[in-house]
Symmetry: C2
Subunit: 316 residues, 2 copies
């Protein structure tokens, strides 16, 4: 591989919060290779597509998805109007704060509850409420709002990729409408580059107004084998780099790696109980098991949070 001196100017450090390690080198080597115009691995800018999972890859997901916390709060506020929820699952578990039971319902359960919790709201109002909640509700442990429970090394990676003409996308099981209101500000990813699960929406025309109203049903779930399908339907081409953190991202990485030419597939391994959390094979959130078993045979890069990241969160 040709090392292009100009790709990373000597004076700058493109990934300052990534420790010097083979992981960091693998990332920088990949970027050098696909952007080296004379090299055999060169990829034209229009095909430099990078996709990132969100929960557990760009922001904290453990021990329960942030979207669940928002949704639980809304459902509790709505509960007085729904006495039946006192005896009806999964609402009963929500009202009893049984987070283990709520969390166990996974992406589908999350989307079901969020759809019910926001039914009847216009898309614009939902976006305002999400934005307000994410930027004012503080994480009990990290002393920062949820919109800042994001990983500094990933922000640096996103910036470095974009500086090399990559287009960066989110591909997440979370509600697209729960991410879009903040992704441009917190990640530099505009709303049209955010792919997530969606609820049913309906156009309501009245008195010169035209609003999209959220309905209590799911339109699409973006998870496991539907991540590649959603990438096709939204991006229309195969990524050359994909980054996930759980077995549910495996198909996205397989789809990415199976394309022709040089590719990079990465998984974040949460190994840092001191600065964030340590979890992998057990539990209900972000299970990383089959991927760990098969990573070496597939040339997937496992990013070890504890050893590969010198800093986890932005300073503020």
């Amino acid at each position: 591989m040709t090392l292009s001196a100009s790709t990373f100017p000597a004076k700058t450090n493109p990934l300052p919060s990534w420790s010097e390690s083979p992981t960091r080198e693998a990332i920088l080597d990949f970027i050098r290779a696909v952007t080296d115009e004379g090299g055999e691995d060169f990829v034209p800018p229009s095909e430099r597509i990078a996709t990132f999972d969100n929960d557990g890859t760009l922001w904290v997901e453990y021990p329960i998805y942030t979207q669940f916390l928002f949704t639980i709060e809304r459902l509790k506020a709505l509960a007085p109007q729904h006495p039946e929820w006192q005896i009806m699952q999964p609402f009963k578990a929500v009202l009893e704060d049984d987070r283990e039971k709520v969390g166990a319902s996974g992406v589908k359960g999350l989307m079901d509850l969020t759809a019910v919790a926001s039914a009847g709201m216009t898309a614009d109002k939902f976006a305002r409420e999400v934005r307000s909640w994410l930027t004012t509700t503080r994480h009990p442990r990290f002393d920062r709002v949820y919109a800042r429970c994001i990983y500094l090394p990933q922000l640096e990676l996103l910036d470095t990729l974009r500086a090399h003409a990559f287009k960066t996308f989110i591909v997440s099981g979370g509600d697209q409408a729960f991410m879009c209101p903040v992704t441009a500000e917190i990640y530099g990813i505009p709303p049209e580059q955010v792919i997530g699960s969606t609820v049913v929406s309906e156009l309501k025309l009245k008195d010169g107004q035209a609003d999209l109203v959220r309905k209590p049903g799911i339109n699409s779930i973006v998870d496991r084998e539907t991540k590649p399908v959603s990438i096709l339907q939204h991006i229309g081409q195969r990524p050359i780099l994909a980054f996930g953190n759980s077995d549910a991202d495996r198909e996205m990485i397989e789809y990415t790696m199976a394309g022709k030419g040089r590719r990079l597939g990465l998984f974040l391994h949460h190994t840092d109980a001191v600065r964030e959390y340590a979890y992998d094979r057990e539990g209900q959130v972000g299970v990383l098991a089959r991927v760990l078993d098969d990573a070496a045979a597939n040339d997937w890069v496992i990013v070890d949070m504890k050893n590969d990241w010198s800093q986890v969160f932005p300073d503020t």
Copy 2:
């Protein structure tokens, strides 16, 4: 409104194939207003979203959608393996070249037939076949391939919008996969900015390969009231400019115009039987009737092909 001298440098003519007319002025006024940093109508670049219908707005749709022609050709090639099609509608009409009956089935019928005609193909192979067909099959009347049966004034408008930091999107009832393989080249619109109807696709993993395979079913139809819904699900924000050509684009324009601040909604009226076609209230393709009745009351701009465009197609 402040006329910013620098917006359109005196030496350049941003829309050379648009005749001097109130229509052209309305477009240029709008662009000036939303890009004038000191002005009251200023819109920041991140919100400069423009959506265009495709069939009949960017490329020729009359007397039958281009995608129907491609699909009919494929179905005829497959017919020997499907003797039942000889007696089964809508296949019988296809094989008998009854284009009026085929065309009458609309966007839903079009997608049904295309899904059947391409079932079992990988997304990559379908993209190659579409690209090859569009760039080699000649239109019988216009002496050019279908990929060049596109409107020069619209190419100029797309370029001008992008030069003013707009992001340009296609929002079409046609199969997204029938447009994506050529839109970057012919319109300067990358595949991730193309929203269209989609067939069901399935991930097939085998021997280190990972392909998306088209199935004989419809995943989504983008038409009428689902155009705004698809815009929300794909772009995540409301356009400030939308351009269509039929009653099926009405909801997209209403959704666009109902946003806060300055907006522009346009419909192309096919009035030019000599250089292209003249059609509006009658027929099965591109019906423009209710929109013509209501345009004035809603401040929609009707673009008159015959009078507003000095040239219709690019020279080659």
